[in-house]
Amino acid sequence: MLCAAGAGGCVSHPVGPARTLTTYEGKAVSTAESASSAVQTVRLAAQTGSDGHAFGPYLSITISEQEDALAGVEGTFGSIQPPGEEADDLRDELDALLSRALDHVSAVRIAVRRGDLDGLARVAEPLGGDAASLSAFAEDHRS
């Protein structure tokens, strides 16, 4: 049992079933929180880069990791079967937020790899709205 738990935990984004709306909502909240953490990390990294406080290779890896993490939580949440129509609405709402955030994080990653470190804070500006929306979503649906 321990080995199974351990092996499951070593996978980046383990998926569990959601048979009720409450369980599904709980998973949506933790997905939004994880996504918000990734978005905020990218915002901080972008600000650090714009201030001339970090090297390009470090920023590139940091932002790519968060982009992967965001894509991972989006994929994981998308793979959970919504238990009913009400859950479908929740799914659509969160999907839209995640997709928008991922686009904005990708834009920051592209800017870093092009060496545009000075302009990172400007490119990362839309992420402020994404972080606020994800936090609000988590707050609204927390039981």
Partner: protein
């Protein structure tokens, strides 16, 4: 200068034990999630490792034999084998994570995916184990690891309200968004990280490698009383930095790059460069500690010649065990398993095996047959006994907490 260099064994052991890849992430994650509410666990862990590492070093200095060398003799082959299996599994698991950790530290500097670097870093670890004299090895990586003092500089630069930070650390409570179970789970993870078994295997074997004798008992104390508290201070500074910079932004830590973010943000490029050097040295040091400890435990249990103080040809089986463990760690890492999760599991599982490591040390340190007039005093025994009770409670609680919290989620 020579005196100062005598404590590099303690510094390397502590930095490799306290701020390896798992601890770096666990301390930052704890700071971001629990603020300073688990700082007391680090202090309890530092006192515990100081108590038992001093004993292990004293046993090695007086008897000329390392911990595992005496475990089989004192506990018998059956219980000794159980101890060996548990310790070797945890050490090999940690080694796997450290090999990835060294590669991740390099990847942050060169922007190449860490999996492409792991074969190179594993080879580098093997070359150092094979070729570099023990003393040179501990001095290079112990001293380079001191670059992690930049965690303290980061905290200083943030300019926190020190009174409020101290008050938070001394009045711990479970934060509202956490449960008592996750609080206990992370507490155990921090305690397990502070008292990781490989630290005493490496430290006592290192004492034998350096041929410590009765006249080196003061060197042993200096190593223990400087090295381990230094590791504790770095852990606390990292925790506080994450609490002050990452927590207000709602960032939860699950990668090494995030650990470096507060330093880059606050101190700038020079701080980031120091940190990357320090992280490389700490994870490399931990890889050396765990790789060598895997060889030490097996060779000492089976009575084979061991160590870097004898020629590789004379300790061929010891070097073979180290090499096979390194290759095993490399292969597991190349599967793409999340190294942070691996190391988090290894420190939690090591908590479950702690009494198996520390109970024999306490027995031997009280045996006049081995120790002569250097047996433990009453006060030390009382403290060690209290810790043994804590270790047992922690060992019993670890697995249920891991299951209940889904490994701290």
């Amino acid at each position: 200068m020579k005196r100062a260099l005598e404590i590099t064994l303690g510094i390397l052991t502590a930095i490799g034990g306290f701020v390896d890849i798992g601890d770096l992430v666990a301390n930052a994650e704890t700071g971001a999630r629990f603020r300073m509410n688990l700082a007391w666990v680090v202090v309890v862990g530092v006192v515990g490792i100081v108590v038992y590492a001093e004993m292990a070093g004293r046993v090695a200095s007086v008897s000329g034999r390392a911990v595992f060398d005496l475990v089989r003799e004192r506990l018998g082959p059956g219980l000794g084998l159980l101890n060996l299996l548990a310790s070797f599994f945890i050490t090999a698991l940690t080694l796997t994570a450290e090999l990835a950790g060294v590669a991740i530290a390099l990847s942050l500097a060169v922007s190449v995916h860490y999996l492409l670097l792991v074969p190179f870093t594993t080879f580098l670890v093997w070359i150092v184990v094979w070729r570099l004299p023990f003393e040179t090895m501990e001095r290079i990586f112990g001293l380079l690891g001191l670059a992690l003092v930049v965690f303290v500089v980061t905290l200083w630069q943030v300019g926190p309200d020190w009174g409020s930070l101290l008050s938070e650390a001394t009045h711990p409570h479970v934060p509202s968004q956490e449960t008592p179970f996750t609080y206990a789970y992370y507490g155990i993870a921090l305690f397990g990280a502070a008292m990781t078994p490989y630290e005493v295997f490496f430290f006592s074997s290192g004492a034998v490698e350096e041929r410590w004798g009765r006249s080196d008992l003061n060197v042993n104390r200096a190593n223990v009383f400087v090295g381990f508290p230094l590791g504790g201070v770095l852990s606390l500074a990292l925790m506080a930095g994450a609490h002050l910079v990452l927590a207000p932004r709602g960032i939860s830590v699950d990668s090494l790059s995030q650990v470096a973010l507060p330093t880059a943000f606050v101190v700038g490029k020079l701080g980031l460069a120091c940190l990357l050097v320090g992280i490389f040295a700490a994870t490399f040091g931990a890889a050396l500690e765990t790789g060598l400890s895997a060889g030490y435990t097996v060779a000492q249990y089976l009575g084979w010649p061991w160590g870097k103080h004898v020629r590789p040809r004379e300790a061929a089986r010891f070097h073979l065990v180290v090499m096979v463990t390194l290759v095993g760690g490399l292969l597991v890492t190349l599967t793409g398993v999340d190294p942070i999760k691996v190391t988090e599991y290894s420190i939690v599982l090591s908590a479950a095996a702690l009494p198996l490591t520390y109970f024999p040390i306490l027995l031997i340190a009280n045996d006049p047959g081995y120790m002569g007039d250097q047996v433990n005093g009453r006060l030390l025994n009382a403290l060690a006994f209290v810790y043994l009770v804590i270790l047992t409670v922690v060992a019993v609680a670890t697995i249920p907490l891991m299951v209940i919290t889904k490994a701290g989620q």
